[in-house]
């Protein structure tokens, strides 16, 4: 440790090195290939969901109920005054809109602070069920794309 490679090399290091490279070349190629395939597979899967990161409310209505286990995202704005929390639970219900269509959604769990900001767009992750309700598992708040100074 701490030594530069060159100093630790024996006089015939060049030959040794070349021998080493040939002996391990196949192993190395296989290792790189496996790594590339694994990362490629992961990237492909991730990209599949990333390229259509979310549907609009109109689109999800057109697509209709999603099958069990299928995860989709829907984006829209919260309609003012539709947010209701079931007494003493973390269950909440609200309506999202994309300007033309609306969708009823329910969410179990914590609601991020910026959820209620009038400039925020909300992305829900979950399932669009048979009874036309979007069951949200995760909420992602898409922040306003402008940064403005607070007036205070």
């Amino acid at each position: 440790m701490g030594k530069t490679d060159a100093l630790e090399q024996k006089p015939d290091f060049r030959e040794q090195e070349i021998g080493f490279i040939y002996a391990h070349r196949i192993k190395l190629i296989i290792a790189i290939l496996v790594l590339v395939l694994a990362v490629g597979y992961l990237a492909f899967n991730a990209w599949d969901s990333a390229k259509v990161y979310y549907y609009t409310v109109s689109e999800i209505k057109e697509i209709g109920p999603t099958s069990e286990g299928q995860f989709v995202r829907v984006s829209g704005k919260l309609i003012d005054g539709t947010f209701e929390r079931v007494e003493n639970t973390t269950l909440a219900s609200f309506i999202l809109t994309d300007g033309t269509e609306t969708v009823q959604a329910i969410h179990q769990g914590i609601i991020p602070d910026l959820f209620f900001n009038e400039h925020s767009e909300i992305i829900l992750e979950g399932r669009y069920t048979q009874d036309k309700v979007f069951q949200s598992k995760n909420i992602i708040v898409k922040c306003p794309s402008k940064y403005v100074a607070s007036s205070s």
């Binding site: 790189i32 990333a50 390229k51 990161y53 979310y54 794309s145 403005v148």
Partner: protein, 229 residues
Amino acid sequence: MAKNISTFEIFWVFSSITLIASLGILFIWVPTDANLGISQKIFYLHVPSAILGMISIAIVAFLSILYLLNTEKKKWDDLAYSFSEVGMVFLTIALISGSLWSKPAWGVWWTWEPKLTLTLVLWFIYVAYLMMRSYMSGSGNEAKFGSVVALIGAIDAPLIYYATELWRSAHPGAVVGPNAESGALDERMFFGLIASFIALSFMFIYFVSNRYFLRSTETRMNFIVRKLN
């Protein structure tokens, strides 16, 4: 060893002064964001380090090509290596600070949206580049394979920048550069971003020059030892 002021020390002094100045500007003079509050200040760390991480891979690709055109000039290769290592450090900071900002702002640590996915891909490209170079070192092919990896990264970098335009994303649209909407960023915030960018750039140059000194000296030393043997 002779005691004289080296280039490193000058960059070190520059980056220290500008960093302290930028922190002062950011936390005293620049206003807090109306919607996101104090957590928006992560922006001044997140955006410059992401930009430096993205520019860096393009420089690596460019230097790799220069080297391949004339393999006598080992210095281009040494410089490319130095940029890749420092670029990865800055991209790592961009990813971590991004995650720490995404939690309070979006409500999640990570989500598979296009900009994030592509940035993670770029991070893996840096990992692949550095790993390949360390495994293949001495084989003579490391620079060639490295340049291919760097070129893929150089294609990825602009995709990251334009991701909000090309695909649906959770990221806000670009606030700086050619794709930015005018008025997307408060004037004082823009100034704060520039100040922070300058400071981090000095740090970046300081790291690269240090790394390059190390790498090129190693190269020269290996050459001497080889000759002696």
